[in-house]
Point group: C2
Chain length 338, copies 2
């Protein structure tokens, strides 16, 4: 199995993408193709001892940054690591692609280069989300700011497959993110989606879930439009961070609180880690004809290695074939727009 | 000044509405009209010593519960405390109304009985929201699940007035809740709203605010549709609660962590309180022709007293007249739908 890694993407660049790739080939049975500026990748690789036959380099001179307009960058920067990597995937020269670079570019490129699975209206970006009970899968987290009920139905199907095959949830409970728990609540989109989900085979739809209940983890797959999903994800991140920031002030209040805090420090640090969603691997882009994992921009080598393992499991479990099957069951070919 | 209090509403009922009202007349210069089952109110009042001339009772035999469909209940339960109270407000027999009862019924009743201010397309429910820097005003938090850009523009205007007059923010910074910080980001609604807000006089529009930044409090007024606002409010509540729940487990892990936790307990308790948005008073219903404050369902007597003070400040500061003025400045009479 060959997985392409965008060597240039992410806040920490080559240092972590190269090290993460080397760790991955040692730990899992994969071959890696590192994409980016050849001489820089070689220089970084030379720092390590590794089985040379397991890593190839594909030269790509350009880089898409977060400042680039994503769709435009995909069209213009043909020699960027993201475009080159996605083309390898499209041409089946690799089995999967991971990038810690621009989320927008990975989304646009997935859609424009790798293209949608037949019948899928819109691909969705999902993420594993820490909860009190463990984890949930939240999707869409930003690929589609405006959604139709039909898209959300497909998100529910793709999310259920991913939860089952990759997160080992035997019969994932699907919840629709909404502003009331009863049927008939919410905006027009969610009312319509509720009715659709109730009549969708191959998923276990369990009804609406309110914002208040999201952190408690009673549902395995949380379905929402990309606007709400992105707010949920980022608000959760911001709140956890700000609460810990504010706790620091509480801890520094007096001599006694400092002592209390010192005692609790290791346990708190460990707890803080459980709340960090980037600990749980990258975000799968579901609904396109290839395994694409978007790793967090701030990924370290451990996160890159994790994303590679995630891509490997994605491929081994034939997620794309399973999505094709289940979407076919929905009936009708909806492949009318891109 | 006369303020009507729904004596029957809220999880804690008469016990807290009556006590909160008595505390309020002692502390502020207000008269209270308690609405509900007369004999029960009298029985509760008899437990206290208070200036009799400051409290009136208006009998109402019915109660709207959270299980009632709000708009239907407003139409059918004519003798409910909420309908009777809102009618007193409409007929100017009282100057304001507070209720800890069904949010949906207060919203529907506000719209159907008290009615919109001329030019206001949709009333909005706002709430004060604790942040790292203090507080922000978030609106709409659920009155309008589906919104148009024009509604959000009016929310920004009403929110700015409330922040200025009631929250004492001299030049409130308005942020549009969105999924990207730059102009042109977000869903169609937010793109359109951004352009409108940029060209709105009498507000200080400062651009988009992402979910991640909401808890940091860099904006004073957070404008969003009622669907997103409700999710933000409830997710924040749920996350804060779940984090404290999980912290408890961390604290109980060992003998040493228990000691650390015991030392920190008072400071943590105080901190937890600062995160509880119900501590900051009730939610004002902005855009109708009367002062209506929706107190939290779980209000205690302190929260009821606070909501009464909030209604008093609302009336004294002529919020409704100020909204009328600023909406007039927008030009055009938009009073076309209800």
């Amino acid at each position: 199995m060959k997985i392409a890694v965008d060597a240039m993407g992410g806040d920490n660049g080559l240092k972590v993408t190269v090290k993460g790739s080397i760790d991955a080939i040692k730990e899992y049975d994969v071959n890696i193709v590192l994409i980016g500026k050849e001489e820089l990748i070689k220089e970084e690789l030379n720092k390590y001892d590794y089985p040379k036959n397991k890593i190839d380099i594909v030269n790509a001179r350009d880089i898409i940054t977060n400042d680039d307009e994503p769709a435009m960058a995909i069209r213009k920067k043909k020699d960027s690591s993201i475009v080159v990597g996605l083309n390898l995937l499209k041409n089946k020269e690799v089995d999967g692609f991971i990038s810690a670079g621009s989320t927008g570019a990975v989304l646009s490129g997935g859609l424009l280069i790798v293209k949608r699975i037949k019948g899928i209206e819109r691909p969705a970006l999902g993420t594993v989300f820490p909860t009190k009970k463990g984890i949930s899968l939240l999707l869409d987290i930003g690929a589609n700011a405006d959604c139709k009920a039909k898209y959300l139905q497909q998100f529910a199907i793709m999310g259920s497959i991913y939860a089952q095959k990759i997160l080992n949830m035997s019969k994932p409970r699907v919840g629709l993110v909404n502003i009331g728990s009863e049927r008939g609540k919410g905006n027009e989109l969610m009312k319509e989606t509720y009715d659709l989900l109730e009549n969708t085979d191959n998923i276990s739809f369990c009804g609406n879930i309110e914002g208040r209940d999201i952190p408690y983890g009673n549902y395995d797959v949380l379905v929402c439009d990309g606007f709400s999903g992105n707010i949920i994800l980022k608000l959760t991140e911001g709140l956890a961070m700000s609460i810990f920031d504010m706790l620091k002030d509480v801890f520094m209040k007096s001599f006694m609180t400092k002592i209390g805090a010192a005692i609790l420090k290791p346990s708190l640090k460990e707890f803080k880690k459980t709340l960090d969603y980037s600990e749980y691997g990258g975000a799968p882009l579901l609904g396109i004809k290839g395994a694409v994992i978007k790793a967090h921009g701030s990924s370290d080598e451990f996160a890159i290695k994790n994303a590679i393992r995630q891509a490997k499991t994605f491929i081994e479990n034939k997620i794309i074939e399973k999505i094709e099957e289940d979407i076919n069951l929905l009936g009708g070919n909806n492949d009318k727009d891109s």
